[in-house]
Symmetry: C2
Subunit: 348 residues, 2 copies
């Protein structure tokens, strides 16, 4: 029994044990040493108290979203589970027109994970949070026994503010609207595949994992009437386009020759029999804008680093509502359906 | 390849497969059939758009919190992981004086989990959400391979509004303040222990899992100056009191004879060598109020079902700051320290 409960310098274990999930001193030490010292949340209560002037503008709305991240391996070229857990939630807010402000972070840690791994994840999260201009304000840790988890699972939730009058919704897309992407497709999926190491692929491809909120704000300045935005994550471009076609009740036509794909990603896909349209991206945007604003939107995207590789890839049409069709390089046309099953498990 | 993307009646598999985590049709079907049909979130975008008039009152603040839930077994007398995942986050908001409004829900599902299990969890979540008066507005599902998870892990995040002027913070507790609990201690921990079945205990004890926001609002009506509230979850009453002593820099004295404990919980603890002060509760409140308001607070607690078993258990003192001391039934005194390690893994 130890009377001292004031913070003192503690020597943490090298690995997480079940004791770190118990709600006692070991847990508090872990949280203070590894997480709150990095995230510097406001206060140590069970909840963060927050306010932002933008929320009080008449007509402003809150945006709220969550994602769990179970990517395997936890570290990959271009990022790690920490990077993706912040970027993913920031991007989910941003594609709805919200300015991301605050994130929560909950960790489910398998017994035996090294403390240095947790420190790296926390550092990556904080780096991405600073890049996006958001704060990680509240969190939780749980520990599960060996074999009941797999390394670290991270769940983030995010709050943002949608300024008055912004309505970026998939259902707003109309026939004639132009579809653009912000950069090359499939890098995240290909990087994870290569990082898994069980395919004997050597590759220099890095995940495109990055926050997209600044890119979206830049385009909104030039084109306030963006109809809809999507980040093409799980299920890739194909799923993002199908979601829009489904929600808006429009057809979508894209042109294979216009899709920005690295030769190396094409190569990996050919070797493994994968379709790059379904490879995940973690920092690539799909935008729909009115036809007369496509040129301005493209220029605005290209003016920001995250949008340097922007391209027009197709348009919304009245024909075949709910269906995405691609004009192939061979002159034919094929349906780009939503994936039924699973191309790559645990991609994010 | 299937051209139809409009919703049609689908026959879901009986168990979750990796395909359900892939971002494609199987995932959308699972989400629509099991989750959104029950939670009825506003819209199907990546983020929920929200507003509440209470947020616009000058001086109001947002409260934001998150918790992951990994309780094992997932079902226990008095609730399941769905109940606890909603009540836990509602209570984390409420103890800070917030009126809980919106929840997110993220599911990490192990391959092979039965769809009926997911349906039961969703039903329990919705039941607790209705009881608390909150809405589950956004969510996510991920699937991990067999052996990389353990059934279902649920992470909820919650947003509430703290009305202007409310400052319920552990650091506000002052010497002389009275400590009360809302009901019997340790029922959740004891119920989980018995439900695990590996201790050969038969017991009628049910988890106390319940939302506490209505109880807190009832007390606030009678005693607007509640100094601080805590729900005594992981680590039990002992950890909640130590947190307050630590944050406020006060000593805390409690009286063993005043602690409300079921005979059956005492019995289980004696058999297993556990200390009931560290057993988790999931619907039991610890409150600190100014001494002249203790009688009103106690009466207000007893007027609400969740507070029927309320009791004064002790007080804050100037002596031994940071330390909790209990006067024992034998006439002695002992330090009630924060747990160093882990009494019961995966209790919530």
């Amino acid at each position: 029994m130890n009377q001292t409960v004031r913070p003192e310098r503690r020597v943490l274990a090298q690995r997480v044990t079940l004791a770190h999930g118990g709600g006692g001193k070991a847990m508090r030490d872990l949280i203070e040493d590894v997480f709150t010292s990095v995230f510097a949340p406001p206060g140590m209560e069970d909840q963060a108290r927050l306010m932002d002037a933008s929320l009080l503008e008449p007509g402003a709305e809150l945006a709220f979203t969550t994602d769990s991240f179970v990517v395997s391996p936890m570290e990959f070229p271009g990022g790690d589970i920490g990077t993706i857990s912040v970027c993913g939630t920031v991007n989910d807010l941003a594609v709805g027109g919200a300015r991301p402000l605050w994130l929560s972070a909950a960790f489910i840690i398998e017994e035996g994970v090294e403390i240095t791994t947790l420190r790296q994840i926390a550092a990556s999260m904080q780096k991405s949070a600073l890049e996006a201009g958001v704060r990680i304000v509240t969190g939780d840790t749980k520990v599960v026994g060996k074999g009941s988890g797999d390394g670290v699972f991270v769940t983030t939730a995010g709050i943002g503010v949608i300024p008055p009058g912004r309505r970026m919704l998939a259902e707003s897309v109309r026939p004639g609207d132009i579809a653009l992407v912000s950069g090359v497709l499939g890098d995240h999926g290909a990087a994870i595949l290569a990082a898994r190491g069980d395919m004997d692929l050597t590759s220099d491809i890095r995940s495109d994992c990055q926050p997209l909120n600044h890119l979206i704000e830049a385009v909104l300045t030039a084109v306030p009437d963006i109809r809809a935005a999507r980040d093409a994550t799980r299920g890739g471009l194909a799923s993002a386009l199908n979601e829009v076609a489904y929600a808006a009740g429009v057809g979508i036509e894209i042109t294979e020759a216009d899709l920005p794909l690295r030769q190396e990603v094409r190569g990996i896909c050919e070797i493994l029999g994968l379709d790059p349209l379904y490879l995940a991206n973690e920092g690539t945007l799909v935008l729909f804008v009115p036809p007369d604003q496509a040129v301005s939107a493209l220029a605005a995207m290209k003016s920001v680093p995250a949008g340097r590789g922007a391209r027009v890839i197709g348009k919304a049409v009245t024909a075949h509502p709910g269906t995405v069709i691609m004009k192939t390089v061979l002159g034919g046309a094929r349906i780009v359906d939503m994936l039924v099953g699973e191309q790559l498990p645990r991609i994010c």
